[in-house]
Amino acid sequence: MNTGRVRWRVLAAAPPLLFLGLFFLWPVTAIILRGLRPNGVWTLGAFSEVLLDSSMQRVLWFTLWQAFASTLICVVVGLPGAALFARYQFRGKRLLWSALLVPFVLPTVVVAVSMLGVFGSGGVSGIELDGTVWAILLAHTFFNYAVVVRTVGSTWSTIDPRLEESARVLGASPWRVFRGVTFPLIRASLAAASSIVFLFSFTSFGIVLILGGIQHRTLEVEIYDQTANLLQLDIAAVLAIVQLAVVSAVLIWFGRTQRRRAVIFEQRSGSEVEHLPSSNRQRAFIVSNLVFMALLLGVPLSVLAVRSFLTPAGWGVEFYTSLTDARSGSTSFVSPIEAIGNSLFFATGATAIALVLGLCAAWAIVGSNPVHSRSHSARWTDTAMMIPLGASAVTVGFGFLIVFDEPPLNLRTSSWLLPIAHAIVALPFVVRLLVPALRSIDPRLRDAASTLGASPRRVWLSVDMPIVGRAVAAAAGFAFAISLGEFGATAFLARPDRPTLPIAIYRALGRPGEVTFGQAMALSTLLMALTVVVMLVIDRFRPANVSEF
């Protein structure tokens, strides 16, 4: 019977692994071959040509330093926020903890548009940052703040405050306590958060494309430009390889430090640790943190929503009503409102694919037998499912463009192309949500069910599924939200007559005029509302024991 279980597990791993091979490894291999073997001969010629070009060097340098700067800013402003959630009780804490996630799950296009609403020309702040590096850094901070606060905050909240108190009693100043006690214990989670922020900033596409103007481009933007506008696929391939190399290096470095630096300590539950503020200094700390969050996160989103109703003729819904006409003479052939239908359609397809494959993969990784759950094949499957995290969405889109444009597999005009690409992006998140949920099921429940007469299939249906149902709902919501907001791959793959919401927003930004900018804000507000609704649903279903992201 045990061997039967193992065989099922191998079978379950097959569909997700095949999918990954066909729709991820093949396109990425095609990119690498294109860069290193352009005319059927292995050569580094294209490589040195690109890397010696001074404008490419500028792109590479800018990509690196803005990613470092974004990470540094996020850590500096995020640590006080993490301390706030780890140590203090205040009203609305739980709600704020969930609300923090909103910017992180917002489509990058929406983030960029809301920054334009505040700092663009005619923005409410009166400061024009559009096209400067500051707009990019600000948007990255807005986008990634929650990563630092939530990742570090949840670790911090498990540190026994008596450790810090003992250090104080032993004569350490507050700063020494932080350096000597707190920091070593949160270092692993801070490294985790920093690597995530670095990777997101390094592979930032939508934000830089919209806010960066012509001077500021990341590798991602350059790859897109070389492909879509200049048709220099060989150069784009070389850039994509450089990008893959840097991303892999960061992931490997991260894996190593995690293993070496992690300090195992006894964890306290949050409710034992947090307390009400007891001095004015502590109250000021809480208030200043909350004000900062309101300014950083609340203002851009409110401005976006408010300005979408502020037409040249005063308050009104003109921006929204104008979304329904496909205006002659404009560059889009379809009404912007149709983009909503397209987005929902693609997101449904992507969610279905990611969920079915994610469930197969998670089941194969966990297995129904705890003795085997740490086996080689399980670990291998687990690692394989995480690989797409290492590549950017632009790489996925670019790879699809090279590979699926011609026989044997011509998907260029298939309406499955986008759902498949989105599913590749969403799959790692889906698997990461499902695996811990499946692992948390007490194996004896399955044993109990089978002694009561349940066949393996019925055990799965009547024990596993109901218990992981919440995680499945959360994973579905995540996949849906990711697909709704996906821009990097979509920019390469969307057909002109079937734009998604983010594409429609980007197109509207590309056309001059107050009305089209208003339309972009109206569409962004709609997309934000959709995403927030999906996130609220996830938050209701999110199992408590599941990892932060």
């Binding site: 019977m1 004896r444 044993d447 069910a449 089978s450 002694t451 007469g453 349940a454």
Partner: protein, 241 residues
């Protein structure tokens, strides 16, 4: 050998690698309506023995014959053997009646008959009226009773009890153990009762089996084990000096 209810012949279970023999050539038989208590320290293989009888672990060798039918290769869900777990293992997503009805649902009993049986069994374990309660709201003793109700609801002829009193305090334990004895007798089931507690074992068993390191050392009526322990180890386990 047809007169026996259950025959275990040379059961061997090995885990590994590294190879580790959990139970080693264990053989004994149980008569109709008999209760056998298996007594042993933790790690003696007594829980593994139960899991082997109901098919949750694969045997390396040996046969299990239930009522004259060789069930060695029958999948767990078709054996019709009840198992009550240490720490209950109640389904957290189901109510009390959902838990008790689980086996009846698997047997595709119609809803009316199911409800009737759930009510009957809950009465039997002294939890009448608990049907719609959530399992997380129950006390330790109540959970134990629900677990018992769940495993006897499909009317198995053989019930395996894995330290069923494991997490309960002494007073509750004494009361439940005589209830348990009555229930098993009333339903005319045979039972194997695994425990590390000698008082429990003496109280409930018709015969006592002593295990150490995967081997069966002795199986006899409690007075015989008491008066003539088969080895020094058995004597020490029973508290003799």
């Amino acid at each position: 050998m047809q007169t026996n209810f259950l025959d275990l012949h040379e059961l061997t279970v090995r885990f590994g690698p590294p190879a580790n023999t959990a139970i080693d050539r264990v053989s004994f038989s149980i008569g109709f309506g008999e209760i056998v208590a298996v007594l042993g320290a933790s790690g003696s293989g007594k829980s593994t023995l139960l899991r082997a009888i109901c098919g949750l672990v694969a045997l390396e060798s040996g046969t299990v014959v239930l009522e004259g039918v060789d069930i060695t290769t029958t999948p767990t869900h078709q054996r019709g053997v009840g198992l009550m777990f240490q720490d209950h293992a109640l389904f957290p997503h189901l109510s009390v009646s959902g838990n008790v009805a689980f086996g009846l649902r698997m047997a595709r009993l119609p809803k009316d008959a199911r409800d009737l049986r759930v009510e009957e069994v809950l009465q039997l374990v002294g939890l009448g009226g608990f049907e719609s309660r959530s399992v997380s709201s129950l006390s330790g003793g109540e959970k134990q009773r629900v677990a018992l109700a769940r495993s006897i609801a499909p009317s198995p002829r053989l019930i395996l009890l894995d330290e069923p009193m494991g997490s309960l305090d002494r007073i509750l334990r004494d009361r439940l153990i005589s209830d348990l004895h009555d229930v098993i007798e009333e339903l005319d089931m045979s039972a194997i009762y695994v425990t590390h507690d000698r008082t429990e074992a003496f109280e409930i068993a018709d015969r006592l089996a002593i295990m150490e390191m995967g081997r069966l050392l002795q199986i006899d009526a409690p007075p015989t084990v008491e008066s003539a322990p088969a080895s020094d180890y058995v004597a020490r386990l029973l508290g003799h000096q």
